[in-house]
Amino acid sequence: MRVVVAEDLYLLRDGMVRLIEAYGHEVVATATTGTGTLDALRTWRPDVSVVDVRMPPTQSDEGLRAVLAARRELPGLPVLILSQHVEQLYARELLADGAGGIGYFLKESVFDADQFIDALERVAGGGTALDPAVIAKLLSRGSSSRRLDRLTERERAVLGLMAEGLSNQAVAQRLFLSESAISKHTTSIFGKLGITDDDNTNRRVLAVLTYLNNP
């Protein structure tokens, strides 16, 4: 894969480049500012990029804004956002275009290199990968999440892991269930959330989006 890394802190940027290259991917460009990020994304159209939310010179959400701008020009451009903190608000903005290919994780997710690279590859493949911290907040919302009330406890757990971007096989491993049980649960979730069968490729992304956009 061709990867762009946008991160203003030298140590983190350097570490991430080394990690990504150690897994046999190519880092084609790095960026340290919001405008630099937008330029790199436009020029290189990478298979996937890793972008920090907060960047100089304003130290505000320049990275995030660069990603949103780039995805308006190049719909579905896969981006994994790595941030010091995760906000539901940002996750909603990123997912709002419904195109998939979005990941949003805490920076410490790089601690588990295998999982990080796995998430990066899933995002490159057009999937979603959200941090468990965001998922937990989404699923714990009270009376407002009426659509979600229809799901059983087990189905919520499955949806949560699905939103993190895991495959049925991986979800089955985490929950100590058989893969066929998981696929039964996912079918039931799609049914309850009103996601039809014709769009096979993106149903898992849609399940998360449906909840995000229709609380």
Binding site: V53, R54, Q84, E87, L89, F111, G142, S143, S144
Partner: protein, 433 residues
Amino acid sequence: MRQPGSWVTSVRVGFARACVVLVVVMLVPAVWAAAVTLWLWWGGNPWSWVAPFLWAGLGTFALSRPVCRIVRSLVARWTGTAIPAGYREPGPVIQLSTGYWWNGHSYERTARDAHRDQRWRTRWHDPATWRDLRFTAIAPLTAGVLAAVPPAGLAVAVLGFGGPAFGGLAFGGLAFGQGGSAAVLVGVLGLVVAVAAAPHAWRPLEPVAARFLRPSPAMALADRVDELTAQRADVTVAQAAEIRRIERDLHDGAQARLVALGLSLATAEKLMDAHPDRAKALLREARAGAATSLTELRDLVRGISPPVLTERGLVDALRALALDSPLDTSVHADLRTRLEPPIEAAVYFAVAELLTNAVKHADADRARISLTRHDAGLVVEVEDDGRGGARVRAGGGLAGLRRRLAVFDGTCGITSPPGGPTRVTMVVPCASW
């Protein structure tokens, strides 16, 4: 030409108000009149001046404040002019470790003595007391005299029409010629004066009260300085406490964890060759420790200043807060510019606290946050559908909130009837409009 009905009403109302003004401002002169009567009555006694003197002095001192309070409330009710009282509040009385009580000036055996001593000190040193006394001396000669016109006119009229004998007695000097007819003429004049003066006679009370009861600019300034001094002390104490909390959190949390992390890594390095399994377990532990200390640091940072507030400003930070709240929370904002960072932070933490209260104490399901620009500044309203009954208690969360807003001259009004809903309106003046 106005309608006769409204004219009659204004005469009636004016007459009643003039009578009220007369009674209120004449209370102190009445005390003096009583003292003079007492003195005349005890005329022969060589010590006779003492009792009337005491009577008049104490009476004036005791009556001046209630009279002024009544005047302020009358003026506010009749004309809408609010005249700030500016009385000094007595400070706190605390019990010392010796068991005695200290009120800031004197050291008393019981709390009651300490309070009484403090009340007298506050009253004696309060410039408002002297302002009140000055007003009670001036008011009878100005507003009092004018307010006396309609009742006096009516009295003259009653005496004039009261019959020739009665009238002749009253206006003996005038009753030349045909006896009663002059008295009737005087009575008619009195009635005309009473009716013509009634709608206007009470009005001088407002300018007189506004001139003599309002705190002078110097007094207002002194009060403002006191207020700011107290606020500065509050802020300093709060800041110091905040710094101590951050220092303690860093020292006990992240720092200790990083030391443990270093130890684990050093041990793992040592074990790497001989016991690779144990080394691997240690490395896993170290990774978990690093993740935990990051979480702790993140919470700490959020407590100092929420990152989304820094990155996006108040409105989006409140939206993020609403998303994270278990309540069904809506945010309405009419605000395009960024505010000063300290104001943004104060408003953010105030709203966060109110939402937490709504969840914890009010048992609410829904909340509404609205931000509007107003001439007075930024108006933030937070309303929940909980059970209400929220009150500002000394040392409580709402009192702290009010104090934090006061630093920016902000105010915080709370309506929370039992059964709800609770609505909190915060107004923060902003120079940057």
